[in-house]
Amino acid sequence: GIQVEQSPPDLILQEGANSTLRCNFSDSVNNLQWFHQNPWGQLINLFYIPSGTKQNGRLSATTVATERYSLLYISSSQTTDSGVYFCAVEYSGSRLTFGEGTQLTVNP
């Protein structure tokens, strides 16, 4: 099956800092999503981005499908950005496969 690797596994920031999270995948994909799991365990959709670039406020994401990676950018981080960020991909004949996530902690 497809392999999904996220880096870094852990990230600690001061409030106001910027960060980049990376997702590498081992095969061509038809679907790629970024999720934020908040400290209460809820999975929040951030981006549906099988290719290209999208922005939503302080967050943006870029997927380069031909090179099999996606990046999630967080600018001017806030304490409410803390949690786990998951990348999940779907390719022909499969369902969403998740990476193991990046644990982000934003300190005040």
């Binding site: 099956g1 038809n30 679907n31 999503q33 999720f35 365990g41 809820q42 999975l43 959709n45 549906y48 099988p50 998951f86 999940a88 779907e90 369902r95 969403l96 496969t97 998740f98 990476g99 193991e100 996530g101």
Partner: protein, 112 residues
């Protein structure tokens, strides 16, 4: 927010007892999924459904069964719960394959 309701939200049960978790959606989406989340493993697919009475196995299906008699409901059953099935279970929905999926709030199951 996508209209997905999981019930119960928390459950403690004893080893060997049957357990059924329910996922209810109001979006009329064709696809429904059950995932489990364990520390160090992210989310892993248990079973999914691509229509009423149409289901298939996922990555970690052993010990689980599912049923979908109506578009809006997808049930996950543990026939005889074991401690290894202690986990957080998430239901998800999507309109078609390869489109955006949305997740429910999760069910925390503890098997003692």
């Amino acid at each position: 927010d996508a209209g997905i309701t999981q019930s119960p939200r928390h459950k403690v049960t004893e080893t060997g007892t049957p357990v059924t978790l329910r996922c209810h959606q109001t979006e009329n989406h064709r696809y429904m999924y059950w995932y489990r989340q364990d520390p160090g493993h992210g989310l892993r697919l248990i079973h999914y459904s691509y229509g009423v009475k149409d289901t298939d196995k996922g990555e970690v299906s052993d010990g689980y069964s599912v049923s979908r008699s109506k578009t809006e409901d997808f049930l996950l059953t543990l026939e005889s719960a074991t401690s290894s099935q202690t986990s957080v279970y998430f239901c998800a929905i999507s309109g078609t394959a390869n489109t955006e999926a949305f997740f429910g709030q999760g069910t925390r199951l503890t098997v003692v």
